[in-house]
Amino acid sequence: MMSKATKHLFFKEFSSYFKTPLGYVFLVIFLFGIGYLTFEPGRGSFFYMREASMASFFRYIPWMFLFLIPAVSMRLWSEERKSGTIELLLTMPVTVKEAVIAKFLASWAFLGVALAGTLPMIITVIYLGNPDLGVIVLGYIASFLMAGALLAVGGFFSALTKNQVISFILTVCTSFLLIMAGSPPILEFISAFSPRYFVDLFEALSVLNHFEAIERGVFSLSNLWFFGVMITCWLYGNIILVNENKAN
């Protein structure tokens, strides 16, 4: 299944998040931020709603991811290229494809750890009331899949440029577009000058729509397909870009 080299590279990459302060900074910001957003502001707040569900938690996940995932993904390839270690890596008996996948999986697993860090939230709702655990599990699955899709986008842009800041900004912009693709203002804007099916196509591309569809409690093959295709295609682009840009 996974080649040995992929496995070793995966573990090295995964553990590297815990060997640099960056990983910890990310975890702290993510966990504090999502907790703060869930509890604090006004009328949508978890404690104000008094509902034993994690809706007010998952509502902020896409927006946390929008800024934090590019921060994780920006260094995936930019740094290797900038420091030149990419030469070391790609002259080892490992293919570009394997390397891309291993790095992607490692960052995905790291985000899994970050999501697992929100476990006290589940304990909170179980303590306070009688939540629908099936829906909560689906919410986590949806968050994890979305993290994968956005990471794949980030990996792609990280391979596009050596500059981490540019990679970050491009990823944020593209992620924002993908998240908002199904939102009314954007659809209305597009429908002003393009045919109906193009609007439909754009709506089908919306990460947020698919995320919310799962989070509501129905797991549909079309949602899974969406995230699967997203990840595969962006990773494919990632592989091509690494091949193309590795020497510069």
Binding site: A5, L9, K19, S83, E87, L88, T91, M92, P93
Partner: protein, 245 residues
């Protein structure tokens, strides 16, 4: 052992390497000379499989780098220019990672690491973080990672660049020691180094092979025995006093 057949590389509108061919046997140290930008590094990157060639091929222990890259890369150790390393890792940790990636058997990893540490005299720093090391040590760690799986072919891209004379001496000594059972391709633009360690040398300029022969041959072309003059004459195409090509 190492066989390069009319390899060439073309970037958009620029021919970086033109039909370069050469061979090297086991126990041979092949010097790769040329001015900056002559295509030395590009050629080496193609041989290691890091870059795809636009034409021609390289064979390492009989395995074509373009057709069976993984098999070829298994028999290859490579020290890239400037010796890039994963700076956040510890020396031993890094060597362990490379050993695993290089498919060294688990039970042999510890032993191999100890061997290369001794070989490259890294004992003093083996428990330090890479980012804290001096340039010389980094160079040696890079050499150590290239040796960890005991490859048959070693490719060293300017391994002594930027080192002080003592360090240079150490590295050269090490290369000589290694040369006995390996095939080493070493790029440099320090000409004394060629005399000191190489059995044979190749000079390239603007992507083309301009000379192939032993250092002695090279030296003999100058009546004063000044290898620099010969190098300049060959690479610039100028006629110099006392040099007969």
């Amino acid at each position: 052992m190492l066989e390069v057949n009319s390899i060439s590389k073309k970037f958009d509108n620029f021919q970086a390497v033109k039909n370069v061919s050469f061979k090297a046997k086991q126990g041979e140290v092949l010097g790769f000379l040329g001015p900056n930008g002559a295509g030395k590094s590009t050629t080496m990157k193609m041989i290691t499989g890091f870059l795809d060639s636009s034409g021609g091929d390289a064979r390492i222990c009989g395995h074509s780098i373009s057709l069976e890259p993984l098999e070829a890369q298994r028999n290859l150790g490579y020290v890239p220019e400037n010796a890039p390393l994963y700076e956040e890792m510890y020396v031993r940790e890094f060597l362990e990672f490379v050993a695993k990636m290089r498919e060294v058997k688990n039970e042999k990893i510890e032993e191999r690491i100890n061997q290369v540490i001794r070989m490259c005299s890294l004992e003093a720093v083996e428990f330090q973080k890479l980012e804290t090391l001096s340039k010389g040590y980094k160079r040696r760690v890079s050499l150590a990672q290239a040796l960890i799986h005991d490859p048959k072919v070693l490719i060293l891209d300017e391994p002594t660049d930027g080192l002080d004379p003592n360090q240079k001496h150490d590295v050269r000594a090490l290369i000589k020691k290694l040369a006995r059972d390996k095939c080493i391709l070493i790029s440099t633009h320090i000409l004394e180094e060629v005399e000191e360690v190489c059995d044979r040398c190749i000079i390239i300029g603007e992507g083309e092979k301009l000379f192939e022969g032993s250092p002695e041959e090279l030296k003999s072309k100058s009546n004063k025995g000044r290898i620099q003059d010969v190098f300049r004459a060959i690479t610039t195409g100028q006629k110099l006093q006392g040099v007969t090509l």
